[in-house]
């Protein structure tokens, strides 16, 4: 069904495949940039992945301005300020984010500050605050989940006020996303599972939430197919470059889809779980996804049913039966991940204290993604979903 109105936008150039990273200097040159600030984290450096980036720059006219490797898992305003200052101090002219969602979000917000000449990131909170063209920005993801390399959003914590600040702007999209299989080969199985479930949640929620449209649907469908074919392969054999590249593509496709269609109650609750109980975002999405889908059966059962064949579920019976089968297929995948790499199947197993469920439900209501959930979600509804997912 065609929505009565929709918008879609993704101008990101995508480089995917073997030795894709080797094109980094060429892409920098095309963007008119020659001195890169690499924004990364200790884990990426420790895994030796920055060496690949530096090797790509060797012998070219592009040079390294500086490396910022102190990005924490939940980046803060202080970190963004530090990165923005380093960019200016070192005379850099482009950002190269190498890592997961936090590195990308940090680079996006630092870029926003440099571009707008802002001193207070908090003043740029909200949607479509950036008016100028941002500095060249290249993303090299080292996980296959967040889709941040193609998404228009970023989340940064204000450590002083303890407020989570949200930013969304079409200007924040990267110029180039480089998917090189060697950059995700070192991801351990449990992180592979969590990031893969994050990508699956992006694709599924984008497919049935309120902003869905034919263009974002096509990206979501392609993402789900790739995930169902390759996630288990990546966990069984982390060195399978073909499966790794497929998962990197799946995360990117899901990212394009949700960046235009947004997510729903699963993401709202998962963000809140992360904020309140510090459990990894991908773990929370994996645990909550079937319960969030169930929450939307009345309003979006027919749409969820369309996902049944993609998820390997039965396509017989009424649309509602197919939708329920699709949900069971997701549960089956989570159980398989538990057997393979001890992926939690309940919030209890994930380490969420039961007495925090109320706080999580309250926080989730203030997450913008809940707006796009087809079904209304009140505090009581959110708490009911959490209780079911707690186990």
């Amino acid at each position: 069904m065609i929505p009565e109105y929709y918008q879609f936008f993704c101008p990101v150039k995508i480089l995917s495949g073997l030795r894709a990273l080797g094109n980094l200097p060429y892409e920098m040159d095309l963007l008119g940039a020659h001195r890169a600030l690499i924004v990364t984290d200790k884990g990426v450096v420790g895994a030796g992945l920055i060496r690949h980036v530096l090797r790509a720059l060797e012998g070219s006219q592009s040079e390294l301005g500086a490396i910022f490797d102190k990005t924490p898992p939940d980046s803060s305003m202080e970190v963004v300020n530090e990165v923005a200052q380093l960019f200016t101090k070192e005379g850099c002219d482009c950002f190269v984010a190498v890592g997961g969602g936090s590195c990308m979000d940090t680079a996006k917000c630092a870029n926003m500050m440099v571009t707008e000449g802002a001193y207070d990131l908090a003043k740029l909170q909200g949607t479509e605050r950036v008016k100028k063209r941002m500095k060249p920005f290249i993303a090299v993801p080292t996980t296959a989940g967040t889709g941040s390399e193609v998404s228009l959003a970023a989340v940064i914590h204000d450590e002083t006020t303890k407020v989570k600040m949200g930013f969304a702007s079409y200007r924040m999209l990267t110029d180039v996303a480089i998917l090189d299989p060697k950059m995700t080969l070192t991801m351990p199985p449990k992180i592979t599972a969590a990031t893969g479930m994050d990508a699956l949640t992006h694709a599924i929620e984008a497919y049935y939430c309120l902003q869905k449209n034919p263009v974002s649907d096509s990206f979501a469908i392609a993402a789900i197919k790739l995930i169902m074919d390759n996630l288990i392969r990546c966990i069984e054999n982390g060195k399978d470059e073909t499966a790794r590249l497929a998962m990197a593509n799946a995360a990117l496709l899901a990212g394009i889809s949700f960046s235009n269609s947004m997510c729903g109650v699963v993401h709202a609750l998962a963000h809140a779980c992360g904020g309140v109980s510090r459990i990894p975002h991908g773990v929370a999405t994996g645990v909550l996804l079937p319960w969030g889908m169930e929450n939307n059966l009345d309003k979006a059962g027919g749409t969820i049913a369309e996902l049944a064949p993609l998820l390997g579920a039965s396509t017989s019976g009424s649309p509602m039966q197919q939708a329920k089968a699709a949900i069971e297929a997701v549960r089956g995948l989570v159980t398989r991940l538990r057997d393979l790499c001890e992926f939690p199947t309940t919030l209890n197993e994930a380490g969420v204290p039961e007495n925090k469920l109320g706080d999580i439900a309250k926080a989730a209501l203030n997450d913008a993604t809940i707006t796009f959930n087809p079904e209304e979600v009140t505090y009581e509804d959110a708490l009911a979903i959490l209780r079911k997912a707690f186990g």
Binding site: P3, Y5, Y6, Q7, Q125, G126, T127, E128, R129, V163, K164, M165, G166, L210, Q211, M262, K299, L365, N366, D367, A368, I370, T371, F372, P374, E375, E376
Partner: protein, 161 residues
């Protein structure tokens, strides 16, 4: 038309927040003096509100140094929402609105807007514009009747603000 609708919303915010317990509960944690505005881009009409005590006060037309701006991208988009043709969640989904300020605070303002709308529109409109319209109690139905009956007077009293 949009200006009048915004004025009506402004007056209704104040009237409903005086009596509705859900609005009072929603704004209980807001900082006293917190200002938010609803406006239309690029240079369309706007109205501002302030939290004072346990109520929301209508400050008048224009942006009165707000911490949060809830903005419609065009007059057409504002008209669709303010005349009950589409819900605010659909307006967000259709990229018809943007927010300048903290998104969590915008969610709280949006919930208050939804409560206020339940007092302004008839049930058949709410069924179309809301995901799950709230069922009003007898006391709330009486309040709704009072809001609708006295809204024109309130608008006249605030027209110069």
């Amino acid at each position: 038309m949009v200006g009048s609708s915004l004025l009506a919303s402004g007056v209704a915010f104040e009237m409903v927040s005086r009596s509705d317990s859900k609005v009072k509960a929603e704004i209980a944690d807001w900082q006293d003096g917190y200002v938010f505005s609803i406006g239309v881009l690029p240079d369309g009409p706007a109205v501002s509100f302030m939290k004072r005590g346990d109520q929301i006060c209508y400050l008048g037309k224009g942006y009165k140094n707000p911490q949060l701006r809830f903005l419609f991208k065009s007059l057409d988009s504002a008209l669709l929402v303010l005349t009950g043709q589409i819900g605010s969640h659909i307006a967000s989904a259709q990229h018809r609105t943007i927010v300048h300020g903290n998104l969590a605070e915008a969610m709280q303002v949006s919930r208050v807007m939804n409560i206020v709308q339940t007092y302004l529109y008839p049930a058949f409109v709410l069924k179309k514009t809301m995901k799950r319209p709230a069922k009003l109690t007898s006391a709330q139905l009486l309040l709704k009747a009072w809001v609708i009956a006295t809204l024109p007077v309130g608008m006249l009293a605030n027209i110069g603000k």
